[in-house]
Protein backbone atom coordinates (compact mmCIF):
# COMPACT_ATOMS: atom_id res chain seq x y z
CA UNK A 1 0.00 0.00 0.00
CA UNK A 2 1.62 3.19 -1.24
CA UNK A 3 0.19 5.75 1.18
CA UNK A 4 2.63 8.43 0.05
CA UNK A 5 1.21 8.16 -3.47
CA UNK A 6 -2.32 8.45 -2.11
CA UNK A 7 -1.40 11.61 -0.23
CA UNK A 8 0.32 13.02 -3.28
CA UNK A 9 -2.64 12.52 -5.62
CA UNK A 10 -5.28 13.55 -3.08
CA UNK A 11 -5.36 17.27 -4.02
CA UNK A 12 -6.00 16.37 -7.67
CA UNK A 13 -8.84 14.13 -6.60
CA UNK A 14 -10.32 16.81 -4.40
CA UNK A 15 -10.42 19.12 -7.41
CA UNK A 16 -11.97 16.34 -9.50
CA UNK A 17 -14.54 15.66 -6.78
CA UNK A 18 -15.57 19.29 -7.02
CA UNK A 19 -16.31 18.75 -10.72
CA UNK A 20 -18.37 15.68 -9.76
CA UNK A 21 -20.31 17.83 -7.28
CA UNK A 22 -20.88 20.54 -9.90
CA UNK A 23 -22.08 17.95 -12.40
CA UNK A 24 -24.40 16.42 -9.81
CA UNK A 25 -25.88 19.75 -8.75
CA UNK A 26 -26.41 21.08 -12.27
CA UNK A 27 -27.69 17.80 -13.72
CA UNK A 28 -29.85 17.30 -10.63
CA UNK A 29 -31.38 20.76 -11.09
CA UNK A 30 -32.04 20.12 -14.77
CA UNK A 31 -33.42 16.69 -13.87
CA UNK A 32 -35.83 18.16 -11.34
CA UNK A 33 -37.09 20.73 -13.84
CA UNK A 34 -37.54 18.01 -16.50
CA UNK A 35 -39.25 15.78 -13.94
CA UNK A 36 -41.71 18.50 -12.93
CA UNK A 37 -42.49 19.25 -16.58
CA UNK A 38 -42.82 15.58 -17.51
CA UNK A 39 -45.00 14.76 -14.50
CA UNK A 40 -47.23 17.76 -15.24
CA UNK A 41 -47.45 16.69 -18.89
CA UNK A 42 -48.33 13.11 -17.95
CA UNK A 43 -51.08 14.26 -15.58
CA UNK A 44 -52.40 16.90 -17.97
CA UNK A 45 -55.90 16.69 -19.46
CA UNK A 46 -54.38 17.40 -22.90
CA UNK A 47 -53.74 14.08 -24.66
CA UNK A 48 -50.76 15.13 -26.84
CA UNK A 49 -48.98 16.47 -23.74
CA UNK A 50 -49.60 13.19 -21.90
CA UNK A 51 -48.21 11.32 -24.88
CA UNK A 52 -45.15 13.58 -25.05
CA UNK A 53 -44.43 13.15 -21.33
CA UNK A 54 -44.84 9.38 -21.51
CA UNK A 55 -42.55 9.16 -24.55
CA UNK A 56 -39.79 11.15 -22.85
CA UNK A 57 -39.92 8.96 -19.76
CA UNK A 58 -40.07 5.74 -21.71
CA UNK A 59 -37.24 6.61 -24.13
CA UNK A 60 -34.85 7.87 -21.46
CA UNK A 61 -35.60 5.06 -19.04
CA UNK A 62 -35.54 2.40 -21.74
CA UNK A 63 -32.04 3.11 -23.07
CA UNK A 64 -28.65 3.25 -21.33
CA UNK A 65 -27.46 6.60 -19.99
CA UNK A 66 -24.12 5.99 -21.67
CA UNK A 67 -25.74 5.80 -25.11
CA UNK A 68 -27.76 8.95 -24.41
CA UNK A 69 -24.54 10.72 -23.57
CA UNK A 70 -22.84 9.43 -26.73
CA UNK A 71 -25.75 10.42 -28.97
CA UNK A 72 -25.61 13.93 -27.53
CA UNK A 73 -21.84 14.41 -27.45
CA UNK A 74 -20.62 12.46 -30.49
CA UNK A 75 -23.84 12.51 -32.51
CA UNK A 76 -24.90 16.04 -31.63
CA UNK A 77 -22.50 17.86 -34.00
CA UNK A 78 -24.01 15.90 -36.90
CA UNK A 79 -27.37 17.58 -36.22
CA UNK A 80 -25.92 20.97 -35.30
CA UNK A 81 -25.65 20.53 -31.52
CA UNK A 82 -22.12 21.38 -30.40
CA UNK A 83 -21.55 21.06 -26.66
CA UNK A 84 -18.31 20.95 -24.74
CA UNK A 85 -17.86 17.77 -22.66
CA UNK A 86 -18.98 19.34 -19.37
CA UNK A 87 -22.14 20.85 -20.88
CA UNK A 88 -22.92 17.60 -22.69
CA UNK A 89 -22.46 15.78 -19.38
CA UNK A 90 -24.86 18.08 -17.55
CA UNK A 91 -27.51 17.95 -20.29
CA UNK A 92 -27.17 14.20 -20.86
CA UNK A 93 -27.19 13.23 -17.19
CA UNK A 94 -29.95 15.77 -16.44
CA UNK A 95 -32.26 14.46 -19.18
CA UNK A 96 -31.58 10.89 -18.06
CA UNK A 97 -32.18 11.38 -14.35
CA UNK A 98 -35.16 13.65 -15.12
CA UNK A 99 -37.01 10.70 -16.63
CA UNK A 100 -36.48 8.64 -13.47
CA UNK A 101 -37.35 11.57 -11.21
CA UNK A 102 -40.53 12.17 -13.24
CA UNK A 103 -41.78 8.76 -12.14
CA UNK A 104 -41.08 9.64 -8.51
CA UNK A 105 -42.91 12.95 -8.80
CA UNK A 106 -45.86 11.46 -10.66
CA UNK A 107 -46.06 8.50 -8.29
CA UNK A 108 -46.15 10.81 -5.28
CA UNK A 109 -48.88 12.98 -6.81
CA UNK A 110 -51.15 10.10 -7.78
CA UNK A 111 -50.77 8.47 -4.38
CA UNK A 112 -52.35 11.44 -2.61
CA UNK A 113 -55.88 10.31 -1.74
CA UNK A 114 -58.39 11.28 -4.49
CA UNK A 115 -60.85 12.41 -1.84
CA UNK A 116 -58.51 15.30 -1.02
CA UNK A 117 -58.83 16.74 -4.52
CA UNK A 118 -62.57 16.11 -4.61
CA UNK A 119 -63.03 17.85 -1.28
CA UNK A 120 -60.95 20.84 -2.42
CA UNK A 121 -62.88 21.15 -5.68
CA UNK A 122 -66.22 20.85 -3.89
CA UNK A 123 -65.45 23.78 -1.62
CA UNK A 124 -64.74 25.87 -4.69
CA UNK A 125 -60.94 25.52 -5.32
CA UNK A 126 -59.90 25.72 -8.97
CA UNK A 127 -57.84 22.88 -10.48
CA UNK A 128 -54.67 24.93 -10.08
CA UNK A 129 -55.48 25.89 -6.50
CA UNK A 130 -56.28 22.27 -5.63
CA UNK A 131 -52.95 21.14 -7.04
CA UNK A 132 -50.95 23.94 -5.46
CA UNK A 133 -52.54 24.11 -2.02
CA UNK A 134 -53.82 20.61 -1.39
CA UNK A 135 -52.11 17.97 -3.52
CA UNK A 136 -48.52 19.21 -3.87
CA UNK A 137 -47.88 19.92 -0.17
CA UNK A 138 -48.88 16.34 0.62
CA UNK A 139 -47.12 14.83 -2.38
CA UNK A 140 -43.89 16.70 -1.59
CA UNK A 141 -43.27 14.46 1.42
CA UNK A 142 -43.79 11.34 -0.65
CA UNK A 143 -41.28 12.59 -3.21
CA UNK A 144 -38.37 12.87 -0.78
CA UNK A 145 -37.44 9.20 -0.84
CA UNK A 146 -37.67 8.50 -4.59
CA UNK A 147 -35.96 11.77 -5.49
CA UNK A 148 -33.25 11.01 -2.94
CA UNK A 149 -32.65 7.55 -4.40
CA UNK A 150 -32.41 9.13 -7.85
CA UNK A 151 -29.94 11.73 -6.61
CA UNK A 152 -27.69 9.00 -5.21
CA UNK A 153 -27.92 7.20 -8.56
CA UNK A 154 -27.07 10.48 -10.29
CA UNK A 155 -23.90 11.01 -8.24
CA UNK A 156 -22.73 7.51 -9.19
CA UNK A 157 -23.88 8.09 -12.77
CA UNK A 158 -21.69 11.19 -13.13
CA UNK A 159 -18.78 8.76 -13.50
CA UNK A 160 -20.07 8.03 -17.01
CA UNK A 161 -18.91 11.42 -18.30
CA UNK A 162 -15.35 10.18 -17.85
CA UNK A 163 -15.97 8.49 -21.21
CA UNK A 164 -16.39 11.89 -22.88
CA UNK A 165 -13.24 13.11 -21.09
CA UNK A 166 -14.75 15.39 -18.46
CA UNK A 167 -12.07 15.63 -15.80
CA UNK A 168 -14.16 14.36 -12.89
CA UNK A 169 -13.31 11.72 -10.27
CA UNK A 170 -13.41 8.60 -12.41
CA UNK A 171 -11.52 10.21 -15.29
CA UNK A 172 -8.86 11.42 -12.87
CA UNK A 173 -8.63 7.93 -11.36
CA UNK A 174 -8.29 6.44 -14.83
CA UNK A 175 -5.48 8.85 -15.70
CA UNK A 176 -3.58 8.19 -12.49
CA UNK A 177 -3.99 4.44 -12.84
CA UNK A 178 -2.54 4.75 -16.34
CA UNK A 179 0.53 6.64 -15.14
CA UNK A 180 1.21 4.97 -11.78
CA UNK A 181 0.01 1.38 -12.29
CA UNK A 182 -1.27 1.46 -8.72
CA UNK A 183 -4.99 0.86 -9.24
CA UNK A 184 -5.75 -0.15 -5.66
CA UNK A 185 -4.34 3.01 -4.11
CA UNK A 186 -5.86 5.25 -6.77
CA UNK A 187 -9.16 3.44 -6.61
CA UNK A 188 -9.07 3.77 -2.83
CA UNK A 189 -8.78 7.55 -2.98
CA UNK A 190 -11.51 7.90 -5.62
CA UNK A 191 -13.78 5.44 -3.82
CA UNK A 192 -13.35 7.31 -0.56
CA UNK A 193 -14.49 10.56 -2.14
CA UNK A 194 -17.45 8.93 -3.90
CA UNK A 195 -18.50 7.33 -0.65
CA UNK A 196 -18.31 10.59 1.26
CA UNK A 197 -20.58 12.21 -1.34
CA UNK A 198 -22.96 9.29 -1.70
CA UNK A 199 -23.44 8.57 1.96
CA UNK A 200 -23.68 12.31 2.55
CA UNK A 201 -26.58 12.57 0.12
CA UNK A 202 -28.17 9.43 1.56
CA UNK A 203 -27.91 10.86 5.07
CA UNK A 204 -29.51 14.17 4.05
CA UNK A 205 -32.35 12.26 2.36
CA UNK A 206 -32.83 10.19 5.52
CA UNK A 207 -32.98 13.29 7.69
CA UNK A 208 -35.44 15.05 5.37
CA UNK A 209 -37.53 11.93 5.14
CA UNK A 210 -37.74 11.62 8.89
CA UNK A 211 -38.26 15.34 9.41
CA UNK A 212 -41.24 15.45 7.05
CA UNK A 213 -42.57 11.94 7.63
CA UNK A 214 -46.36 11.89 7.71
CA UNK A 215 -46.63 9.76 10.81
Amino acid sequence: MDVALMMRVFPFFLEAALVTVQLSVLAGGLGLAMAAAAAAARLSPVAPLRYLGATYVSVFRGTPALIQLFVLYFGGPQVGINLDPFAAGVVGLGLNIGAYMAEGVRGAIVSVDKGQAEAARSIGFSRAQTMQRVILPQAARLMIRPLGVNTVALVKGTSLVATISVVELTYTAQRFIGSTYKPFEIFGVAALLYMVMIYGVARVVDLLDRRYAID
Binding site: V59, G62, T63, P64, A65, L66, I67, Q68, F70, V71, F74, G75, G76, P77, Q78, V79, G80, K156, G157, T158, S159, L160, A162, T163, L169, T170, A173, Q174, I177, Y181, K182, P183, F184, F187, A190, A191, Y194, M195, I198, Y199
Partner: protein
Amino acid sequence: MQGLDFSVVLPYADILWIGVWWTVVLTVSAAVISFFVGILFALVVLYAPAIVAYPVRLFIWLFMGTPLLLQLFLIYFGLVQIGIDIPALVAGIVGLGLHFAVYNADIFRAGIAAVDPGQAEAARSIGFSRFQTFRYVVIPQAVRSTTPPVGSNMIALLKESSIVSVIGIAELVHAAQLAISETFRPFEFYITAALLYYLLNLVLEAALRRIEARVEMSR
Protein backbone atom coordinates in the same frame (compact mmCIF):
# COMPACT_ATOMS: atom_id res chain seq x y z
CA MET B 1 -24.00 19.61 -40.27
CA GLN B 2 -24.22 16.54 -42.48
CA GLY B 3 -27.52 15.04 -43.54
CA LEU B 4 -28.64 12.04 -41.57
CA ASP B 5 -28.71 8.82 -43.50
CA PHE B 6 -29.70 5.69 -41.65
CA SER B 7 -28.96 3.50 -44.66
CA VAL B 8 -25.29 3.59 -43.55
CA VAL B 9 -26.32 1.28 -40.72
CA LEU B 10 -27.42 -1.63 -42.88
CA PRO B 11 -23.98 -2.85 -44.02
CA TYR B 12 -23.06 -3.12 -40.34
CA ALA B 13 -26.09 -5.16 -39.35
CA ASP B 14 -23.91 -8.21 -38.73
CA ILE B 15 -21.54 -6.41 -36.35
CA LEU B 16 -24.45 -4.87 -34.45
CA TRP B 17 -26.14 -8.24 -34.27
CA ILE B 18 -23.01 -9.74 -32.68
CA GLY B 19 -23.02 -6.78 -30.27
CA VAL B 20 -26.63 -7.54 -29.31
CA TRP B 21 -25.68 -11.17 -28.79
CA TRP B 22 -22.80 -10.26 -26.44
CA THR B 23 -24.99 -7.79 -24.58
CA VAL B 24 -27.47 -10.63 -23.98
CA VAL B 25 -24.68 -13.01 -22.91
CA LEU B 26 -23.24 -10.40 -20.52
CA THR B 27 -26.61 -9.51 -19.06
CA VAL B 28 -27.71 -13.11 -18.55
CA SER B 29 -24.42 -14.31 -17.02
CA ALA B 30 -24.15 -11.26 -14.77
CA ALA B 31 -27.80 -11.66 -13.78
CA VAL B 32 -27.20 -15.27 -12.74
CA ILE B 33 -24.15 -14.26 -10.68
CA SER B 34 -25.98 -11.30 -9.14
CA PHE B 35 -28.88 -13.57 -8.20
CA PHE B 36 -26.94 -16.34 -6.49
CA VAL B 37 -24.27 -14.15 -4.91
CA GLY B 38 -27.09 -11.83 -3.81
CA ILE B 39 -28.86 -14.68 -2.02
CA LEU B 40 -25.59 -15.84 -0.49
CA PHE B 41 -24.76 -12.34 0.77
CA ALA B 42 -28.25 -11.88 2.18
CA LEU B 43 -28.03 -15.17 4.08
CA VAL B 44 -24.56 -14.33 5.37
CA VAL B 45 -25.66 -10.88 6.56
CA LEU B 46 -28.74 -12.35 8.26
CA TYR B 47 -27.46 -15.59 9.74
CA ALA B 48 -23.68 -15.94 9.61
CA PRO B 49 -21.42 -15.28 12.60
CA ALA B 50 -20.09 -11.73 12.81
CA ILE B 51 -16.60 -12.67 11.64
CA VAL B 52 -18.02 -13.74 8.26
CA ALA B 53 -20.93 -11.28 8.13
CA TYR B 54 -18.84 -8.21 8.81
CA PRO B 55 -16.54 -8.41 5.75
CA VAL B 56 -19.57 -9.11 3.54
CA ARG B 57 -21.37 -6.09 4.95
CA LEU B 58 -18.26 -4.00 4.33
CA PHE B 59 -18.12 -5.28 0.75
CA ILE B 60 -21.80 -4.43 0.22
CA TRP B 61 -21.27 -0.98 1.68
CA LEU B 62 -18.23 -0.33 -0.53
CA PHE B 63 -19.93 -1.50 -3.70
CA MET B 64 -23.08 0.50 -3.01
CA GLY B 65 -21.14 3.68 -2.45
CA THR B 66 -19.05 3.65 -5.63
CA PRO B 67 -19.86 3.75 -9.35
CA LEU B 68 -19.86 0.62 -11.51
CA LEU B 69 -17.35 2.21 -13.89
CA LEU B 70 -14.79 2.55 -11.11
CA GLN B 71 -15.47 -1.01 -9.95
CA LEU B 72 -14.84 -2.30 -13.45
CA PHE B 73 -11.55 -0.41 -13.63
CA LEU B 74 -10.55 -1.87 -10.28
CA ILE B 75 -11.33 -5.43 -11.32
CA TYR B 76 -9.86 -5.20 -14.81
CA PHE B 77 -6.78 -3.04 -14.16
CA GLY B 78 -6.45 -3.56 -10.42
CA LEU B 79 -6.25 -7.33 -10.24
CA VAL B 80 -3.32 -7.22 -12.66
CA GLN B 81 -1.39 -5.36 -9.95
CA ILE B 82 -1.65 -8.40 -7.68
CA GLY B 83 -0.83 -10.80 -10.49
CA ILE B 84 -4.35 -11.82 -11.53
CA ASP B 85 -4.74 -11.19 -15.25
CA ILE B 86 -8.30 -11.94 -16.29
CA PRO B 87 -9.80 -11.46 -19.75
CA ALA B 88 -11.99 -8.38 -20.25
CA LEU B 89 -15.10 -10.47 -20.73
CA VAL B 90 -14.64 -12.22 -17.39
CA ALA B 91 -13.89 -8.90 -15.68
CA GLY B 92 -17.04 -7.43 -17.22
CA ILE B 93 -19.28 -10.30 -16.15
CA VAL B 94 -17.80 -10.46 -12.65
CA GLY B 95 -17.93 -6.68 -12.22
CA LEU B 96 -21.54 -6.37 -13.40
CA GLY B 97 -22.51 -9.49 -11.45
CA LEU B 98 -21.02 -8.29 -8.17
CA HIS B 99 -22.33 -4.75 -8.64
CA PHE B 100 -25.90 -6.00 -8.89
CA ALA B 101 -25.40 -8.82 -6.36
CA VAL B 102 -24.94 -6.15 -3.74
CA TYR B 103 -28.25 -4.49 -4.63
CA ASN B 104 -30.01 -7.87 -4.84
CA ALA B 105 -28.57 -8.86 -1.47
CA ASP B 106 -30.15 -5.80 0.10
CA ILE B 107 -33.53 -6.68 -1.41
CA PHE B 108 -33.32 -10.37 -0.40
CA ARG B 109 -32.24 -9.44 3.10
CA ALA B 110 -35.17 -7.06 3.51
CA GLY B 111 -37.56 -9.58 1.91
CA ILE B 112 -36.55 -12.37 4.28
CA ALA B 113 -36.57 -10.07 7.30
CA ALA B 114 -40.06 -8.84 6.36
CA VAL B 115 -41.61 -12.31 6.69
CA ASP B 116 -43.48 -12.32 10.00
CA PRO B 117 -41.39 -14.23 12.58
CA GLY B 118 -44.66 -15.81 13.77
CA GLN B 119 -44.70 -17.76 10.50
CA ALA B 120 -41.38 -19.42 11.25
CA GLU B 121 -42.34 -20.03 14.87
CA ALA B 122 -45.59 -21.66 13.80
CA ALA B 123 -43.77 -23.89 11.31
CA ARG B 124 -41.19 -24.94 13.90
CA SER B 125 -43.92 -25.64 16.46
CA ILE B 126 -45.72 -28.05 14.13
CA GLY B 127 -42.47 -29.96 13.69
CA PHE B 128 -40.76 -28.44 10.62
CA SER B 129 -36.97 -28.48 10.76
CA ARG B 130 -35.10 -25.20 10.41
CA PHE B 131 -34.37 -26.06 6.80
CA GLN B 132 -37.97 -27.05 6.06
CA THR B 133 -39.23 -23.86 7.68
CA PHE B 134 -36.93 -21.85 5.50
CA ARG B 135 -37.66 -23.81 2.33
CA TYR B 136 -41.45 -24.11 2.62
CA VAL B 137 -42.52 -21.14 4.73
CA VAL B 138 -40.05 -18.25 4.66
CA ILE B 139 -38.65 -18.41 1.10
CA PRO B 140 -41.98 -18.64 -0.77
CA GLN B 141 -43.21 -15.53 1.00
CA ALA B 142 -39.93 -13.66 0.57
CA VAL B 143 -39.85 -14.50 -3.14
CA ARG B 144 -43.15 -12.72 -3.74
CA SER B 145 -42.03 -9.45 -2.20
CA THR B 146 -38.57 -9.52 -3.77
CA THR B 147 -39.48 -10.41 -7.36
CA PRO B 148 -40.51 -6.91 -8.53
CA PRO B 149 -37.47 -5.03 -7.16
CA VAL B 150 -35.05 -7.72 -8.32
CA GLY B 151 -36.75 -7.44 -11.72
CA SER B 152 -36.05 -3.72 -11.88
CA ASN B 153 -32.45 -4.45 -10.98
CA MET B 154 -32.24 -6.78 -13.97
CA ILE B 155 -33.59 -4.02 -16.21
CA ALA B 156 -30.94 -1.69 -14.82
CA LEU B 157 -28.34 -4.42 -15.39
CA LEU B 158 -29.24 -4.70 -19.07
CA LYS B 159 -28.72 -0.98 -19.53
CA GLU B 160 -25.59 -0.72 -17.41
CA SER B 161 -24.00 -3.58 -19.33
CA SER B 162 -23.28 -0.81 -21.88
CA ILE B 163 -20.60 0.47 -19.50
CA VAL B 164 -18.35 -2.56 -20.00
CA SER B 165 -17.65 -1.24 -23.50
CA VAL B 166 -14.95 0.87 -21.80
CA ILE B 167 -12.84 -2.21 -21.10
CA GLY B 168 -13.21 -3.32 -24.70
CA ILE B 169 -15.83 -6.03 -24.59
CA ALA B 170 -17.49 -6.42 -28.00
CA GLU B 171 -21.02 -5.71 -26.80
CA LEU B 172 -23.54 -3.40 -28.43
CA VAL B 173 -21.92 -0.03 -27.65
CA HIS B 174 -18.55 -1.35 -28.69
CA ALA B 175 -20.04 -2.68 -31.93
CA ALA B 176 -21.52 0.76 -32.61
CA GLN B 177 -18.13 2.39 -31.90
CA LEU B 178 -16.45 0.01 -34.32
CA ALA B 179 -18.90 0.94 -37.06
CA ILE B 180 -18.51 4.65 -36.24
CA SER B 181 -14.72 4.43 -36.51
CA GLU B 182 -15.18 3.30 -40.12
CA THR B 183 -18.11 5.47 -41.16
CA PHE B 184 -17.81 8.60 -38.96
CA ARG B 185 -21.56 8.45 -38.42
CA PRO B 186 -21.99 8.57 -34.62
CA PHE B 187 -25.55 9.84 -34.65
CA GLU B 188 -27.01 7.07 -36.80
CA PHE B 189 -25.16 4.25 -35.06
CA TYR B 190 -25.72 5.39 -31.49
CA ILE B 191 -29.42 5.95 -32.22
CA THR B 192 -29.58 2.46 -33.70
CA ALA B 193 -27.84 1.04 -30.64
CA ALA B 194 -30.29 2.93 -28.40
CA LEU B 195 -33.19 1.46 -30.37
CA LEU B 196 -31.77 -2.05 -29.98
CA TYR B 197 -31.39 -1.54 -26.22
CA TYR B 198 -34.95 -0.27 -26.11
CA LEU B 199 -36.18 -3.42 -27.85
CA LEU B 200 -34.12 -5.68 -25.55
CA ASN B 201 -35.59 -3.76 -22.64
CA LEU B 202 -39.14 -4.38 -23.90
CA VAL B 203 -38.43 -8.11 -24.23
CA LEU B 204 -36.95 -8.26 -20.73
CA GLU B 205 -39.87 -6.31 -19.25
CA ALA B 206 -42.36 -8.66 -20.89
CA ALA B 207 -40.47 -11.68 -19.51
CA LEU B 208 -40.38 -10.14 -16.04
CA ARG B 209 -44.12 -9.45 -16.15
CA ARG B 210 -44.75 -13.13 -16.88
CA ILE B 211 -42.47 -14.22 -14.05
CA GLU B 212 -44.18 -11.81 -11.65
CA ALA B 213 -47.61 -13.08 -12.71
CA ARG B 214 -46.52 -16.67 -12.04
CA VAL B 215 -45.08 -15.80 -8.65
CA GLU B 216 -48.28 -13.97 -7.81
CA MET B 217 -50.40 -16.97 -8.89
CA SER B 218 -48.47 -19.40 -6.71
CA ARG B 219 -49.94 -17.61 -3.73
